[in-house]
């Protein structure tokens, strides 16, 4: 079920009430487990079985890795876990993509091949829970965490409903320890959790869906040439939409977990105030970038084998990162562009070093705006359904199209402009601090006013809302 739905409101009230009414910690965990599977099964019940099968297999493989005496045996069990997880992901998410590309490749070699189109229904959130589960066996293999003896705890760690379908990618090593003993709520924790849930829903329902999605959909769905103004407005709208959509989900997840006594790490840290692309990836979808860093970049050798090898490693990581988002070459190109930008940035730093003048505020602002513009340009490939659309939009954005049809109304332009400006101001104001620190300093009346306004806007928006963008990944 969606966070932004009446069903979830009722579900959450019932689960939280029952959870805190129970005294026994095992009973509470059982309740959370059942609730999490109901939360997931509400989309498509059979996929809950798939989720359980994946989890149970990794539980077994984690135990085998831990108990194996020989390094070779440990490695074999780890490879089995990686293979099983990626095979399942590959079948459901990339099956048709692989077949289509095989067909294309064979056609280039003069071989006619017509693959069957597999009528595969993608299990929601499969990329997230596969990584949740996989992180466990990999961490056990690396010796970062010991295996749990409780299947119930591990199944709950993977399926914990706040983070199940769209992240953050919570590692078992971070979550399992929280299942050892009943959590105690700190002063204000429950209320702060509720406020974060309100903030997350406000970001999703009001800012992403109501203020920005219309302009983004119109521009990316248009088949003709556009003026630069419309192209930029559409891309800025999508930049804001995907942030509010995904960060909104993560904020809801963190808030819901807090209400239940659990602590999840930040997944976003004001990414549009990043200075440089490496800074961006330290602030955007942090749980994915750290996952790829720890389980792919570093095992590949990281930057330990010289700059050339480090650059290749970066490109591999960003290729996989792009592909993780979807079975399409546009996602791959998006990832590769980020890879190239990261490599260029490293080169620039190696040549120029961290010169003192780069610390001047105007320079930082300029570099930050350039980073934002670069990130926006890459979003074109992320959102466009094909390269023709992406190419047309990029051409329009850089003013290479002589003519274009005005598409967005004054109202749409004003909405995109106001929200994008507000987003940038907020990110730059908060880039070196946290929401918690800012709220702690706010007068009580201001917190009350902001919370009331967000809740009021959510009520005014009505409706059951749209699915979160990242669900499809």
């Amino acid at each position: 079920m969606l966070f932004n739905s009446l069903t979830f409101v009722v579900f959450f009230v019932v689960v939280v009430s029952a959870y805190w009414a129970l005294r026994s910690w095992p009973a509470r965990k059982n309740l959370l487990l059942v609730a999490s599977y109901i939360f997931y099964g509400a989309w498509n019940p059979p996929f809950a079985l798939l989720l359980f099968a994946t989890t149970a297999l990794d539980f077994f493989l984690g135990a085998q890795i831990a108990s194996a005496q020989e390094p070779r045996a440990r490695k074999a069990w780890m490879v089995a876990s990686v293979t099983s997880n990626l095979s399942m992901l590959g079948f459901f998410k990339y099956g048709n993509f692989l077949l289509e590309n095989t067909q294309w490749l064979l056609a280039r070699c003069g071989i006619a091949y017509s693959p069957p189109h597999l009528d595969i229904f993608l299990p929601i959130g499969i990329s997230f829970y596969t990584f949740h589960s996989l992180s466990y066996t990999l961490d056990v293999y690396r010796g970062v965490c010991q295996p749990t003896k409780s299947l119930r705890d591990f199944v709950l760690a993977v399926s914990f409903f706040p983070q199940l379908v769209a992240g953050p990618i919570v590692r078992a090593a971070d979550f399992l320890p929280q299942l050892v003993a009943a959590p105690a709520l700190r002063r204000g924790q429950f209320y702060w959790g509720l406020l974060l849930m309100t903030l997350g829903m406000f970001e999703k329902i009001v800012l992403a869906d109501t203020m920005l999605s219309g302009a983004a959909d119109a521009v990316f769905g248009y088949g003709g040439p556009l003026p630069a103004l419309d192209a930029w407005a559409g891309v800025l709208a999508f930049s804001g939409q995907i942030f509010f959509d995904f960060a909104g989900y993560s904020t809801c997840a963190i808030g819901a977990a807090l209400c239940l006594g659990f602590h999840l790490k930040d997944n976003f840290r004001f990414p549009y105030a990043a200075i440089g692309f490496s800074d961006f990836w330290r602030r955007w979808h942090i749980s994915l970038s750290t996952f790829l860093r720890d389980f792919l970049y570093i095992p590949l050798g990281g930057n330990r084998s010289g700059p050339t090898r480090a650059a290749i490693n970066l490109m591999i990581v960003m290729f996989i990162g792009g592909l993780w988002h979807g079975a399409a070459w546009t996602f791959v190109v998006w990832g590769l562009i980020h890879g190239v930008l990261l490599v260029i940035e490293r080169l620039a730093r190696a040549i120029g070093g961290d010169a003192p003048w780069t610390e001047a505020l105007p320079v930082k602002l300029l570099l930050g705006l350039a980073t934002y513009a670069g990130v926006c340009l890459t979003w074109v490939f992320f959102r466009a359904t094909d390269f023709t659309t992406a190419s047309r939009l990029v051409h329009a954005m850089v003013g290479l199209l002589p003519h274009g049809d005005p598409l967005l109304t004054t109202r749409a332009l004003v909405k995109v402009g106001c929200v994008s400006a507000g987003l940038l101001v907020a990110h730059w104001s908060l880039r070196d601090t946290s929401v918690e620190a800012v709220v702690a300093k706010m007068p009580r009346w201001l917190v009350t006013t902001l919370w009331t306004l967000m809740l009021g806007a959510i009520i005014l928006t009505q409706g059951n809302g749209n699915a979160f963008i990242y669900f499809q990944f």
Partner: protein, 357 residues
């Protein structure tokens, strides 16, 4: 080494505030503001009624049985047909699947492709809407079908909860009193060449069977009736061809798409008839300026005649019968609630005759 048996060292900071007092104040102010907004909405003439959501449509579509009587089409059968009268006259409770501002064809095709369905379809035929090859009319129909075919348990329960609220709260009006619609009411200078004509304001109430009734405020002369009436011409005028496609190419493509639609409709009707099902096309009453536009843009001798000829299905054109053409739609496109009951009574004998063919 962190382990599953060790304590977790990450703890989120919690800002120091008087949280209980803040939450109480938030709930109090929000409750007062919500009640105030509800009073304001009722003062404006809004009454609690269901929104015509994709969920409500999916729920009705699910109610279709193999031998059901289904109503398919646009807003005209939605407003103009009374389900009770049809049940009395035809012996079966009809299922209302018509949808405002939609093309009837995708729903028609969905029903006729359903191998289990061998019932009866009353299909509204507004020529310009029936042959729409794409755009919002098709998107509207495709949206409801997508919902029906992928309707999750969570969406079903959300729909049940939503209906309970909508039946009691007047300000829950999608597209009318939601935040987006309210923002759209802020006057801003138009940008040349952009924007679509606005849809009609709230002028009908809906029940759980999707029976739509025109509200009295629209049935009587006044600002609401004028606003709805004057909105139709722009909405019924096809948009200009896109500038990036040569006009002759565009027209050729349109011609092909329309021919394909004629063929598809005939095939759909044949499929239904082969299973023992029946279908009748109906042209519902219209008037005033809107009738002039439709008669000029899509004359009867064109699309209407062609579809009936190709499909071999019977058709009832309101103008052929004095008792059906005696009604004056208050806002030129739909009948008032009392008129819809009388119109349905007069339509039933014609439906019986057509379906007996």
């Amino acid at each position: 080494m962190p382990s599953s048996t060790s304590s977790f060292d990450f703890v989120r900071p919690i800002p120091e505030q008087s949280w209980r007092g803040i939450l109480l104040a938030v709930l109090l102010v929000t409750a007062v503001a919500t009640v105030g907004w509800e009073i304001r909405a009722r003062a404006w003439g809004y009454a609690p009624t269901l929104n015509d959501t994709t969920d409500l449509w999916a729920q009705r579509r699910e109610a279709v049985r193999p031998d059901s009587l289904a109503i398919v089409g646009d807003s005209r059968p939605h407003f103009d047909l009374d389900l009770d009268v049809l049940e009395q006259g035809l012996g079966r409770r009809p299922i209302q699947l018509a949808r405002d501002g939609s093309c009837a064809y995708p729903v028609l095709a969905d029903l006729t492709n359903d191998e289990s369905f061998h019932g009866t379809i009353i299909c509204s035929l507004v020529p310009g809407m029936m042959i729409a090859p794409g755009g919002p009319l098709m998107a509207n129909s495709e949206e409801i079908l997508k919902r029906y075919h992928h309707w999750t348990l969570a969406q079903r329960s959300g729909h049940e909860l939503g209906m309970r609220l909508e039946e009691h709260i007047a300000f829950l009006k999608e597209g009318e009193l939601d935040l987006d619609a309210l923002l759209a009411k802020i006057p801003l200078p138009p940008r040349a060449g952009t924007g679509h004509p606005p849809g009609p304001p709230y002028f009908g109430s809906l029940d759980r069977e999707r029976r739509e009734r025109m509200i009295d405020q629209c049935a009587q002369p006044g600002w609401l009736q004028d606003r709805v009436k004057h909105g139709w011409p722009a909405l019924m005028t096809p948009p200009p061809p896109p500038s990036y496609v040569p006009k002759d190419v565009f027209m050729a493509n349109m011609g092909k798409a329309v021919e394909q639609r004629f063929h598809d409709i005939a095939a759909a009707v044949a499929k239904l008839r082969a299973r023992g099902g029946k279908l009748v096309f109906v042209r519902f009453p219209m008037g005033g300026e809107l009738k002039k536009i439709e008669d000029l843009g899509t004359p009867r001798a064109g699309i209407w005649t062609r579809i009936l000829k190709d499909s071999g299905a019977p058709g009832i054109y309101f103008e052929d019968f004095p008792e059906l053409s005696a009604f004056t739609p208050p806002e030129n496109s739909h009948l008032s609630a009392p008129d819809s009951v009388e119109f349905t009574k007069r339509l039933v004998p014609h439906l019986k005759k057509a379906l007996a063919q």
